[in-house]
């Protein structure tokens, strides 16, 4: 049955995150709306971050959470919580009047789970609340987000891909096959309907014949923000070496001082002062999006502009923060670049990346059309005289995988180096999640090449073999035990009244399950790669929904079956990785024989 013939489907999306989260959600929703045009989407968002959603024509309605009206008076002691509750109740009425067909809670926060619990819906994805008030998660991808992403474990599936897959899979199951949308791109310059009016004049007079590069000079979090002096040096390098380029600085009013600092430094070092302009503090969402859409490149740290540029089809160079989570929230699409500092990765330190490294990466990226990536990035850094920067950084280029390879965005390393253990674990976990929730994955070892392995990876992976085997055995035993418990309890007339032998048998099986669970948790603590198994096991067990012992034990068996599948995937990846590093036998005909003295025979 084609979904196109179906009646409208009322969908409520809860996105109480920041602007960047809103933009990522809109990307995922756009894909769903293209395939299921009957979706009628209402988005709940914070008043402060609603600007993007309000400019999207296919969003039916934007409902703003009245943060200023409800929360601030309480925080300032001007109103009581009772008054706040009354206001919140009034605000909720339109949301709870009629049950929704689909509720997507894409905030993954404590507050959003209560809101989801209050709103009636036929299908719910994401966090919600049970009758007893405890947090509840119904769908697989949300289990994955809660345990692996929010647990801080390495994985490399982009959040936009997770949300898109989560929604499209649910729609396919509940609504049927989608309409054929052809190869329509998810991102486009017409994503938003902007209200520019006279505001565009502020920007139109800037020279449109030049190649404009936007620099978003600050982020919402200071630890992610790159210093003004470094941005100034990048701007100076860029303008002095590329006279065809112009730079526009972007930011909020609070970033004005930083903007002044950059303008002062750059203006003193370049001859044409009109080649850099500051729009910091002068843009609302419409003008900001207009400028970003007209730029050829956006240079920024990890902030909302990265997603905005991705949506609008403008290329991005992200100066990554210390935390290597750009796999999940970095720029989305083809041909974006991310540069991260090796020293700061995994820490809360600000990115220790030099302006010369950023300029080198950008100049390589922006001349792809000429060198067609036939020269390596290492050579490019060398030609510029900044080879010494290479050891301090990692650079990635984004690529949308072909559908046959699983689709989604992948961050391809630009320097040929062995894979790090955390990235290897991220690869395995992403693969496991696809196997669990997509039902199909490329063969084990895809995206891991022999050249990426080295002895230190082997040192980490080899001891994991035994752990993976033990995990498989635990899961298998637990699955069978839970299955036995299910069989035993489903035959009983009552779970409250049972004879002594029945009671003992049920108790023994329950005790054994508990011991196996404890064993699994202990095993998970033995190695960072094993830890996510413990986390996801706890999440899955917490979300068992059965109301009888028979139902709960059946679900428990399913959980261990799922975990067991994951453990087998881990074992296969370990085997594959260890096989990759084994010496390869070379055919005799390919061996070049050393010259032998005359008359000596080949042995």
């Amino acid at each position: 049955m084609s979904a196109s013939s179906e009646k409208r489907v009322r969908c409520l999306v809860i996105q109480l995150g920041r602007l960047g989260d809103n933009l990522q959600s809109l990307m995922a929703l756009r894909a769903a709306k293209q395939l299921y045009p009957q979706l009628e989407i209402t988005l709940v968002t914070r008043d402060r971050f609603s600007s993007a959603a309000k400019r999207v024509p296919w969003i039916e309605k934007v409902v703003e959470l009245p943060t200023v009206d409800v929360l601030l008076p309480i925080l300032e002691g001007k109103e009581s919580k009772e008054v706040g509750l009354a206001k919140l109740s009034q605000w909720l009425i339109p949301l709870v009047e009629n049950p929704w067909d689909l509720l997507l809670n894409w905030t993954y926060s404590e507050a959003s789970s209560f809101l989801s619990g209050l709103v009636p819906a036929r299908i719910k994805l994401g966090y919600t609340r049970r009758k007893d008030g405890s947090i509840s998660v119904y769908d697989g991808w949300s289990h994955y987000i809660q345990s692996v992403l929010q647990g801080g474990f390495p994985q490399n599936i982009h959040l936009t891909d997770i949300l898109t897959t989560q929604l499209l899979t649910a729609l396919q199951i509940h609504l049927g096959d989608p309409v054929d949308a052809g190869n329509a791109p998810v991102s486009s310059k017409s994503f938003f309907q902007l209200d520019l009016q006279s505001k565009e004049n502020l920007w139109n007079w800037k020279d449109p014949t030049r190649k404009w590069i936007g620099i978003q000079i600050a982020t919402g979090q200071s630890r992610k923000t790159w210093p003004a002096s470094k941005w100034a040096r990048v701007a100076e390098l860029l303008l002095s070496r590329h006279p065809d380029c112009r730079i526009v600085l972007l930011g909020e009013s609070k970033d004005q001082k930083k903007s002044d600092e950059i303008m002062e430094v750059v203006s003193s070092k370049i001859t044409d002062s009109s080649s850099i302009v500051s729009m910091v503090g002068k843009t609302d969402f419409d003008l900001w999006a207009n400028i970003v859409g007209r730029c050829q490149w956006i240079l920024a740290s990890d902030t909302a502009v990265v997603h905005l540029a991705g949506v609008l089809g403008t290329r991005v160079l992200e100066v990554g923060s210390g935390s290597p989570r750009f796999w999940e929230t970095g720029p989305y699409g083809n041909g974006h670049y991310v540069i991260s500092s090796i020293e700061a990765e995994g820490t809360e330190l600000p990115p220790e990346i030099s302006p010369e490294a950023v300029y080198s990466a950008w100049s390589y990226a922006s001349t792809e059309w000429a060198h067609r990536r036939q020269i390596s990035m290492e050579s490019h850094f060398g030609q510029l005289g900044w080879s010494s920067e290479i050891a301090k950084i990692r650079v990635f280029r984004t690529k949308i995988r072909p559908t046959n390879d699983g689709g989604g965005v992948v961050y391809e390393p630009q320097f040929q180096r062995p894979i790090r253990a955390a990235d290897w674990a991220g690869l395995v976990w992403s693969y496991t999640a696809r196997a669990w929730y997509c039902g199909w994955t490329p063969p084990v070892g895809h995206e891991l090449e022999r050249s990426q392995t080295n002895p230190s990876l082997v040192q980490i992976v080899r001891p994991l073999q035994e752990s993976a085997d033990v995990l498989i055995r635990i899961c298998d035993e637990a699955r069978r035990t839970a299955g036995s418990l299910h069989q035993r309890t489903s035959k009983m007339k009552s779970e409250k009244i049972m004879d002594l032998s029945e009671k003992n048998e049920v108790q023994d099986l329950g005790k054994k399950l508990l011991e196996l669970d404890q064993l699994l948790q202990r095993l998970a603590q033995t190695h960072p790669v094993m830890q996510p198994y413990g986390a996801i096991s706890q999440i899955l067990m917490h979300n068992l929904r059965g109301e009888s012992l028979a139902e709960i034990s059946r679900e428990t068996a399913e959980v261990y079956q799922q975990l067991g599948q994951g453990a087998v995937i881990l074992r296969d990846w370990i085997r594959h990785t260890l096989n990759l590093v084994k010496p390869v036998a070379i055919q005799q005909s390919n061996v070049i024989e050393l010259a032998r003295p005359k008359g000596e025979k080949t042995p």
Binding site: L65, I74, L118, K124, Q166
Partner: protein, 42 residues
């Protein structure tokens, strides 16, 4: 590896009418969590 629909999509939830106590509990939880979030980000 085939995947089952339930694992990926969640189950159908027929939300029953909530009683006043449950609504009150959820509403208070929502307000408190929102207040906590604002305090954390300040």
């Amino acid at each position: 590896m085939a995947t089952d629909g339930k694992r990926v999509s969640g189950e159908l939830i027929e939300d029953q009418r909530k009683d006043q106590a449950e609504v009150s509990m959820l509403l208070q939880g929502l307000l408190q969590a929102l207040l906590d979030e604002v305090k954390e980000t300040k």
